[in-house]
């Protein structure tokens, strides 16, 4: 009898991917259910599976990054020699995106497509498990160089680096500092980084699958500051208010040891660039900042996600052709 690690995967053992891979409140439920089905099959049941992306039509950056992170984690925690096989999208653009982001390579598959679309070839994804700057810094540097080939106005890589490097520090210092009460975190406390240049804009996103802002802030922010924030953000969900609490604490000078500035550095990317968008998503909360050219402070919007994404993402979107300095 074959061991579970070499068991044949029946054709019916497909998990069908959503039509849209995204983290927008209207699309995230399908993506998260898809991810949980993968976790159930691969991590909890120790079985292999095939992910059917044939009907996938659209892939957005934040959703792609979270999916990449979760597949990486599922593969690392599975005892199977090849737990996941990918059936690629039929449509050209999502097919190229999956190849460009190396989803097939992550799963040990090949995909016979050469990305050539302008809106695909600048997607990049990398990962790491510590705060060393070489890997993410090289990626940011290269993508910024590419961005500046297109745009009339420049992207200052040092501004982006400030936000990205601090987001990575937050992940390695805090995100995996406690046990989660669900699936195990990645064995190496990993972070994932995605960048893109598309339609005259630059995108970067950092993701982790750790405990989230709500539990992190309990440990990193003093009780009296948390109590004050509870009054200010009364009525918001716990994840949203924890994100805003971290931002306010980062802005204040009350921190005794100068820590807690990482979240503020995320917002400083917009201010230094002169305009742009920042979304901070943690479990069921999302806080979105939009800075218009000429404004000093961003407009803040909070959203309750319809499902717990069990991860944290920090996402920047910076215009390149107008609004930046």
């Amino acid at each position: 009898m074959a061991s579970p690690a070499h068991r044949y995967v029946r054709p019916s053992d497909f998990i069908v991917a959503p039509r849209i891979i995204g983290l927008h409140p209207s699309t995230c439920r399908d993506l998260i259910k898809f991810i949980r089905a993968i976790q159930q099959r691969v991590i909890l049941e120790g079985e292999a599976t095939t992910l059917d992306f044939s009907g996938t039509q659209k892939i957005y950056g934040p959703g792609a990054l979270l999916l990449y992170a979760e597949l990486d984690r599922a593969i690392a925690l599975s005892g199977h020699h090849k737990p996941i096989t990918i059936k690629a999208p039929q449509l050209s653009t999502p097919r190229q995106v999956m190849k460009q982001l190396e989803f097939p390579a992550l799963c040990g598959d090949t995909l016979d497509v050469v990305p050539d679309r302008d809106d695909v070839v600048y997607w990049r994804c990398t990962r790491g498990a510590d705060q060393s700057g070489e890997v993410p810094g090289t990626l940011i540097s290269r993508v910024a160089d590419r961005a500046n080939e297109f745009a009339a106005s420049s992207l200052r890589a040092e501004d982006v680096w400030r936000g990205v490097s601090e987001a990575i520090i937050n992940t390695t210092e805090h995100a995996y500092s406690e046990e989660t009460d669900r699936f195990s975190p990645h064995p190496s406390n990993r972070w994932w980084l995605l960048t893109n240049v598309k339609d005259g804009s630059f995108t970067a996103a950092v993701c982790d699958t750790g405990i989230g802002y709500k539990r992190t802030t309990l440990r990193t922010i003093p009780a009296e500051f948390r109590a004050l924030a509870r009054l200010i953000f009364k009525g918001e969900n716990a994840d949203t208010s924890a994100i805003r609490l971290a931002m306010e604490y980062g802005k204040s000078r009350t921190g005794l040891d100068e820590r807690g500035k990482g979240s503020r550095d995320a917002l400083s990317v917009l201010k230094r660039h002169g305009s742009g968008e920042l979304a901070m998503i943690s479990n069921k909360g999302q806080v979105y900042y939009k800075l218009e050219p000429g404004q000093e402070e961003p407009v803040v919007t909070t959203t309750n996600l319809p499902i717990d994404i069990r991860a944290t993402l920090v996402w920047w979107h910076l215009p390149l052709s107008e609004g930046s300095q």
Binding site: D130, Q131, S132, G133, E134, P136, G137, T138, I140, S141, A157, E158, D159, V160, W161, R162, S165, E166, I168, I169, T172, E173, L256, E258, R259, K261, G262, R264, D265
Partner: protein, 108 residues
């Protein structure tokens, strides 16, 4: 005066606070260059240009952290450590970290 170029002598990608989390961290920079100079009172000039950028954790741990590690005053710190940068904002930020760390040494 000894010249230190962060990009050439340390890394083009400064990142991170602690050595346990990476070799491009503020703590690693502090222990390699700042603490030895402050302990020996050997003047150094640090050229901050040429790197991808600096995060606040790196800067605070490197510069504020070296005040905590050596217990020197901000005045003594800047007698030994000279900063060279095309960004006045960056120098100002570092000065603030050093001053804040010095203030905490006094006030606890």
């Amino acid at each position: 005066m000894k010249q230190i170029n962060v990009a050439k002598d340390f890394t083009k990608f400064p990142s991170g606070r602690y050595m346990r989390s990476g070799n491009t961290s503020g703590e690693a920079f502090r222990e390699k260059f700042l603490v030895p100079a402050l302990r020996s009172r050997q003047e150094i000039e640090i050229d901050l240009d040429g790197v991808l950028g600096y995060g606040s954790s790196f800067l605070e741990e490197a510069f504020g952290g070296s005040v905590r590690a050596t217990k020197v005053s901000p005045e003594e710190f800047f007698r030994v450590v000279h900063l060279k940068s095309s960004s006045a904002t960056l120098v100002s930020e570092i000065r603030q970290y050093v001053k804040d760390a010095g203030r905490r040494l006094i006030h606890g």
